[in-house]
Amino acid sequence: MGMAAAASESRFHVLAVDDSLIDRKLIERLLKTSSYQVTTVDSGCKALEFLGWSEEERSNPTETSVSPNIHQELGVNLVITDYCMPGMTGYDLLKKMKQSSYLRNIPVVIMSSEHVPSRINRCLEEGAEEFFLKPVRLSDVNKLKPHLMRTKFKNIMGNQEREESKEEETGIRTQKQQNVGLNKSNAMRKSSDHEGLSLDGLRQKYSGFTVITLLLSLVFSLCFLIFG
């Protein structure tokens, strides 16, 4: 885990959660092949422990010459979790993360060996970025990059430029809503129209100005969906 230089391409850190040892080994290999730094845990509880620890590191930097890239490495950039696990399911983990002000911005991907449309929809509605059917392949792992890049972009912008980055995110979401019409048979794709129509998705994150922008985008998207 080197002290990655100030290269813009510092490695993304993915936390993989699965109670199956074989599947953990597989996902680890898939992620490492794609040059991600990987941590694997075997339960939702351990995932939250790890995330809590790494978020604390992020918010309490030690002094001296600690570069932002160190925190990038300690922090988790994406969580990929199995759905069916004893105790805390992947869905429970997703919910807990979305309820946490620290963790809600970490993209979450759910994996499941069973194709249950209601399960997929529930996870996407709760905020999962993607839903992969197992066994997961390299082509699935390739889909993670955009979600990681989007989070990295938001982090780089920082607090001062937070307004602009939220509007950028809105633009991306609106674009995704337009794409849903073209891609409607793909059960794996995030259900952007659900997200776009859900006021819960707006929550307390946005300022008044951005809320208006978002609402206008929603109206636009609705019109597109009805007439497009």
Partner: protein, 154 residues
């Protein structure tokens, strides 16, 4: 046997495993993940599968032998076995597990016992064939050759 012959035998053997449905595309995916930095990846994952499966099959045998059969627990074990066999591409084992789960749903002990036998049989077949495949690989490597990849099924 010279390397070329060994490699040809290997390719014929693995092609037959795919043709006969013992292995599916997921096994090819495992092979794609093996490289110089992880030269034993496939063997390692398949070995984990053997250990895991034997434990689960033992648990299933015990569970079906109980006075009061706990179908929920049995279903959970079969679900796990189905998952791991699917993850390594052991197609016939996976399919036998799917049938087994249907019997669990019906709560039919006799049918479950038959399904367990079927799963055990498929597992033993898969194990035998995979071990033979790995032995062929070892022979190729010992003779100084590279293990050929059959990529038409990925």
């Amino acid at each position: 046997m010279e390397v070329g012959q060994l490699q040809r035998s290997f390719l014929e053997y693995i092609a037959a495993l795919f043709r006969e449905g013992f292995l599916d595309g997921q096994f090819s995916q495992l092979q794609l993940l093996q490289d110089e930095s992880n030269p034993d990846f496939v063997v390692e994952v398949v070995s984990l599968f053997f250990e895991d499966s034997e434990r689960l099959l033992n648990d299933l045998t015990k569970a079906l032998d109980q006075q009061n059969v706990d179908f929920i627990k049995i279903d959970a074990h079969v679900h796990q076995l189905k998952g791991s066999s699917s993850s390594i591409g052991a197609q016939r084992v996976k399919n036998a597990c799917i049938t087994f789960r249907n019997c669990c749903d019906e709560r039919n002990i006799e049918a479950c016992l038959r399904c367990l036998q079927e799963v055990k049989q498929e597992y033993l077949l898969a194990k035998t064939k995979l071990e033979a495949l790995f032995r062929l690989e070892q022979q190729i490597v010992a003779a100084g050759g590279a293990i050929p990849i059959l990529d038409e099924f990925s």
